[in-house]
Symmetry: C2
Subunit: 382 residues, 2 copies
């Protein structure tokens, strides 16, 4: 990499602001319940062109938010969750594209969710928040596009649950999307991922501090959320990456402590991940978002995966990762095969990596040229 590129990479999109839009008109949810007023938190990077044809919507995963790139202030230690991919000269090139990322409904990063004040009671929704689905998340995003005056997106892009939303976009609103980038994702939640999510919910809901969801103003169910996050974290990694990072290394000392306390590095790492997650995430949002993931079932919704993929109008790029056991390569291949059977333009790349599911957030070098090239083709209408 040349010095110039490094410099640009360091700068990225620079300082960004979180924005908010609120609709008083309630959104009718898949459950039949309605949710309103409805607020979406979002960020944008780059500029919408005059033809309004260069917008790309980034879709975040379970614990993500609208802050995909840049920093909110020069003193921020970390930039957004997909900063490596967003900025001048990066795949989501802010010199060419207008990039949008919104926090999902049900979340806890500025969009309406269980911690929001319920207008009927004046108190936070808690567990009275209605159950939302991936479809509901996307319908809320469609409102945001309407408000921004964007009829059609150049592309949607997301990994993991972000890929669920991208798939929902290209099947529920196919005329509004010209291209889709689907990373480390699947067309349905299978019983194993549902099992992990369900155990996480049980850990949260059996933490006595959960108080049936009404813990706002009290101590939150921090142990339950930590356990849920720790379970999730193991599924985001892989056996080889755990061996590389930790092996059987002790955190301190050079012999066993013969104690019940944590002593291996892998334990300290997971405990730390679980505990720090509490400082940035709301346990009720974890319940609602994992529930939305568990409901995710495109083949069930349309009768078959082929019937779902027959709805797609644009181009699709799938990237899977060789050691991802949460949404393994076979899940992407099934989507690619169904699109191909329906005669839809599709490309599937399986990238070798030891990083497991998390690779889509980590392995930037391998993904950059593939995503850049795909977006360029879509932009040129090739």
């Amino acid at each position: 990499m040349t010095a110039l590129q490094t410099e640009r990479a360091y700068e990225g999109v620079g300082i960004v602001q979180r924005q908010y839009l609120t609709w008083t008109e309630p959104l009718t949810l898949e459950s039949g319940q309605s949710l309103g007023p409805l607020t979406l938190a979002y960020e944008t990077y780059g500029r919408l062109n005059a033809a309004r044809s260069n917008a790309i919507l980034l879709l975040h995963a379970l614990s993500g938010d609208a802050h995909a790139a840049g920093r909110h202030s020069p003193s921020d230690r970390k930039s957004g969750w997909w900063d490596m991919m967003v900025g001048p000269g990066r795949p989501f090139d802010t010199d060419r594209y207008f990039v949008i990322c919104s926090n999902v409904i049900g979340g806890c990063m500025g969009s309406t969710g269980p911690a929001t004040r319920d207008p009927r009671t004046g108190r936070p929704y808690g567990a009275r928040f209605p159950v939302v689905t991936i479809g509901d998340m996307v319908r809320a995003q469609a409102r945001l596009l309407d408000a921004l005056g964007i009829d059609q997106l150049l592309a949607v892009a997301g990994g993991s649950m972000g890929g669920f939303q991208a798939l929902e976009w290209i099947t529920a609103h196919p005329d509004r999307v010209r291209g889709a980038v689907l990373l480390a994702t699947a067309a349905r939640s299978g019983p194993q991922t549902m099992a992990w999510n369900s155990i996480g919910r049980r850990a949260i809901m059996s933490d006595p501090r959960w108080r049936d969801g009404d813990y706002y103003g009290h101590e939150p169910p921090a142990d339950g959320l930590a356990v849920a996050r720790m379970i999730g974290h193991v599924t985001y990694l892989s056996e080889p990456s755990l061996e590389e990072k930790f092996g059987r290394r002790l955190q301190h000392g050079d012999g066993p402590a013969f104690s019940l306390e944590r002593e291996f590095a892998v334990e300290s790492y997971l405990d730390y991940q679980g505990d720090t997650f509490n400082s940035r995430f709301d346990a009720n949002s974890y319940l609602y978002i994992t529930k939305a993931m568990d409901y995710w079932d495109l083949p069930g919704q349309y009768g078959s995966l082929d019937a779902a993929m027959a709805r797609v109008e644009g181009r699709t790029l799938l990237i899977s990762f060789s050691t991802d056991w949460l949404y393994p390569t076979a899940e992407s291949r099934a989507i690619a095969d169904a699109l191909a059977r329906q005669g839809r333009p599709v490309e599937h790349v399986d990238l070798p990596t030891s990083a497991g599911h998390d690779a889509f957030l980590i392995d930037a070098e391998a993904q950059r040229p593939i995503i850049s090239g795909f977006l360029d083709e879509v932009a040129r209408g090739a």
Copy 2:
């Protein structure tokens, strides 16, 4: 299967009694601490021959106990955990062999463990129970053999943590074992299995009812233990077996409930497994036994797996299962390869199955002839 075989299979070893032996002489543990008096609960099936040369020691897994076969009373709903393999005409043929199974120390099924009264205080040990290792479990079993007048075993046999103990037997006490049957096991705990165990311990220890281990006489940490067991259970199954058993089937009704409560069959199953586990297992024992598993590291103990396997004097049979992702085929292959490099007689069979790690307790038909043949060879000194 003929009618006669079915009849015999039904009868198995019949009604058995749990037996106990107590030593007042303390056992010095790997940690340097001592544990005494020490009680082991055990069961035996078949008869020791005059030459005392037909004894086989069965070694149980994390949640197992001394009750490997038969029933304690005619009204018992279930027979022992390995009943399918133990009895007249079965691989551990009680017409030929004297079969012994003992509960591990640290357990909660009659052997000395954290629920035992600490003679120094008159109260249950709780978290003051000393941390034990796989080596300590095996040293206690060696005392049992001494008491039974058995110098050398025809074989040791066990799956999962039972395989850890079998490996400990053939490396720490090689002159006392002529053959070893190792099922679905590994020579060390890797960081992923340690991660699952550690999260389970965190779930138990953060349940407020755990009370630093002093919950005896109070409500036990049932939610923590349930979560730990649910995590474990997912690791014992496989994605294909979960698809076969549950898929995305709802437990009740034919549409989504749009509720935070469990509603998919896989959730109900896991919740049931977690809750019923509480009726038969002590949370503190779960802490101690998973800790012993985490310490398991034969290559670390002897410098390398080859150095460990160089100690083995008898024959070894390894059986792994194609969909076991907790202790995958590669773990058994590594042991088999190391034994072969050391010129030790070894056989490794990888059985195709969808049952995952649990296959060693379920897939009887495929295992029976392999284990029968191996034991026969060892018995004949072939």
